[in-house]
């Protein structure tokens, strides 16, 4: 069916293979080949952050990553991250960080990374970390609260 070589990489802790064109977007591979539709396409050009995933532990935009560059690497999507950090999911739900939910998966991935890197991030640091994730519903306040509430 295709002459593309098989690309092997790790997705959410499992070895996966994909024999799409290496130029294919990681986002399309995740959504349409692996059925991991948690990563959303809000713009397709790296502006909105709804497709954020972790690549070797770093938040990246899966709409801008050619799947060929993932060979041998580790990808984590919101589906796995939400399982790893149920407290974040709970906080986002309770503080009003979620409305329509279309930006939420990307925001969860970014906030997870921020919590790992800087558990006591100030509001300014949260703003900076989230600058690549557009939200149109919440005015961001509910999202800030998800990290700030309970800081003490």
């Amino acid at each position: 069916m295709t002459d593309h070589p098989t690309l092997a990489f790790e997705v959410n802790g499992e070895a996966r293979e994909c024999n799409a064109s290496p130029e294919m977007r990681l986002l399309d591979c995740l959504r349409y080949d692996f059925g991991l539709t948690g990563s959303k396409e809000g713009c397709g050009e790296g502006e909105c952050g709804a497709c954020t995933v972790l690549l070797d532990g770093q938040p990246v935009l899966s709409c801008l990553v050619p799947v060929g560059q993932c060979a041998g690497r580790r990808v984590e999507t919101v589906e796995a991250i939400a399982e790893k950090d149920p407290e974040l999911v709970e906080r986002m739900t309770e503080t009003g960080g979620i409305q329509c939910g279309a930006c939420t998966p990307g925001i969860v991935v970014t906030l997870y990374s921020l919590r790992q890197a800087n558990p006591e991030a100030s509001r300014e640091e949260i703003r900076r970390a989230l600058a690549g994730n557009l939200c149109r519903c919440t005015g961001y306040e509910g999202i800030f609260r998800a990290l700030e509430d309970g800081h003490g």
Binding site: R31, G35, L36, T37, G38, S39, K40, E41, G42, C43, G44, E45, E47, C48, A50, T77, V78, E79, A82, E83, L88, V89, E90, M92, T93, E94, T95, G96, I98, Q99, C100, G101, A102, C103, T104, P105, V108, R123, I126, R127, R128, L130, A131, G132, N133, L134, C135, R136, C137, T138, G139, Y140, E141, G142, I143, F144
Partner: protein
Amino acid sequence: MYRWGGCSKLAELTYIGTSPPRPDGPAKASGLSQYADDVAVAGLWFGETVRSPVAHGRLRSVGWRRAAPPGAVLVTAADLPGPNGVQLIDDGWPILAEGTVEHVGQAVALVAAPSRRAAVLAAAEVEVDIEELPPVFDLSEARRQPSLYELELGLGDPEAVLDQAETVVEGEYRTGHQEHIYIECQGMTARWHPSGPRVEVSGSMQCPYYVHKSMVHAFGLPEEAVRVRADAIGGGFGGKEDYPSLIAIHAALLARAVERPVRIVYDRQQDIIGTTKRHPATMRYRSAVDAEGRLLALDVLVELDGGAFTTLSKVVLSRALLHAAGPYRCPEVRVRGRVLRTHTAPNGAFRGFGAPQVAFGIERHMDAIGRRLGIDPLTLRQRNALVPGDRLPTGQIVDESTSALACLESVARRTDFVTRWTEYQAAQTETNGTPQRGLGLSLYFHGAGFTGNGERRMNSPASARLTPEGRIAVLSAMTDMGQGAVIVFRQIAGEAAGVTFDDLEFPEPDTNEVPNSGPTVASRTTMIVGQLVARAVREVSAQVADWWGEQQPAASPYTVKDGRVVGQDGRSTPFAAVARSYLEVHDALEVTVRHQPAPGPVFDETTYQGPAYPTYAWGADIAEVEVDPDTLAVRPLRMAVAAEVGRAIHPRLCIGQIEGGTLQAVGWGLLEEIKLDQGRYLNDRLATYIIPTAMDAPDLDVELLEAAFPDGPFGAKGIGELPMDGGAPAVVAAIENATGLVVDEIPATPERLFAAQMRERSDD
């Protein structure tokens, strides 16, 4: 920061005024919610839209450039089975261009192919031959053409007062297009069935029954042959009120042609090019005021750019005119308006629906009056703000919950407004290179629910019925596009029926399952349909309790509380158990209730006199901004917002609505701009259509005030649109306070501020 004042939880209420977690939160945060493009469908094909590249022209032909790509199918207007119009208020909006094209991006043809990539490539193989005709873009030229719609309302004889007045203030204010930028783009899947409902569409939509009506009209099918379901909705803001009807018809046309399910999902560029926007507005205000700044007469002309087709413009203009005089007392008022036709994509519903435009107009005009008379913005508004018993330009007497002064007090108290505003004004001339700060105030109100007799005409139903498990299923067509109806309705139903959330079921919006309780628009969901839900479940619960009392007369009458049916003797049985017993002896229990307008005067749609809205929600904003004196970049630092919401059913979500709407308004006021070149939007991507990031958002300090509206559920008013009204005038006023630059057009981009600065310097 946020807080709420006056929202004391009433002792006898269990759920109202509390903030339980929304049930869809964990699935949304885990990426498990199924949005339009997430739903797996076997054998799915994909549709693409071929659009007009020019703004106006005669459509000579549409067809494949060469041979049809293998497997691809083309649909044009010639293939339509019925009338070529999307049924909204009228059906003047073509499904596919026929004869002429009227705007860039108008759908001319559709293609379907077995994969996304093949569909994209096939769409590029369609040749559209158009003979260009002269387009109209300029409003001064559009004024010479017939308007799409005109309207006038008012009280008294403002002209006579204006002629005699010592002080007359005039101004022209302009607002631009705004694109919704719901993060999930539009998407719809259609399939035809050999039996049962013939055609089924599902996708991202606010109003399943709008889609249903337009499908019935377009395909000439009986109502029961069309089934419409809403998937999880990634934001709407009005943008998924009218437009999903068009995509649903498109997808269904393709699915019919290829005899397979077909999905159309717009990418962001198509979404911006193709879908409706907030109407740009030009507003001329002329007012007579006394020496204290009290309004004596007001004459307003509102012009909206409707784009090429009417769609919802009539009702947008109507709401605009009804809000044009603002939350102010004025004895003599005339408000006129028209929707102008241009060769641009039709403008349509966007949160606020005409009111944010005129809120910008009246608030900038109030600032112009204050500037002329040397009165600070707070004092001027306090002198003019409506109080209970005052009369609106429609003659409507505003009710006891009129809270303008309380909102002003709330924001002024939290910001020490007058003192700091005066200090900042004095510091305007100190341009030593450091950022300049300013404060700006806005006061606004928003009519809750449909305009005029919309609710009366619609007479919307909602139902409740017992399920075999002994739960109450609540049936309405309301969608949750993020606003939180999904939990607010649980709270209302649980409170009204005396049951727990576990005793309730909420079937997904599906026209096969739920009655037509109207569209999810106009801040009507909680206030209007929430009240229907309360009445329906209360009736079901009461009937179950009464029946139980007949079985156990000793402890009768029974009440339902906390999910238990409780007798006079204090003994109780779980509601679900009693309900199951009820169903053992009855076939079913289902109650349908319909909206009942409050008794009293009725709005007159010919004279535009009477109560245009059952009540109003009230708000005030104070924005503090920092302006870089060199680049004129504006950073909104913080905003104090007061919102009087009747009663906050779920304070956390209610505050979330206020916060989110406020930032949308700030974005509209400062950043969001669509520039046109020959009718083509230049800002057609998220890299060029600029919405606020987390770095651009001010800290928001929201205070909720409550003044119950007796006809809303537990006193609630509709508030979804209210926060869209105040942000833009507040930030623009704050820029003026910081810099002295008067800007009467938004977005107040640094480029526009620079132009104002140059004008001011050449005036010196």
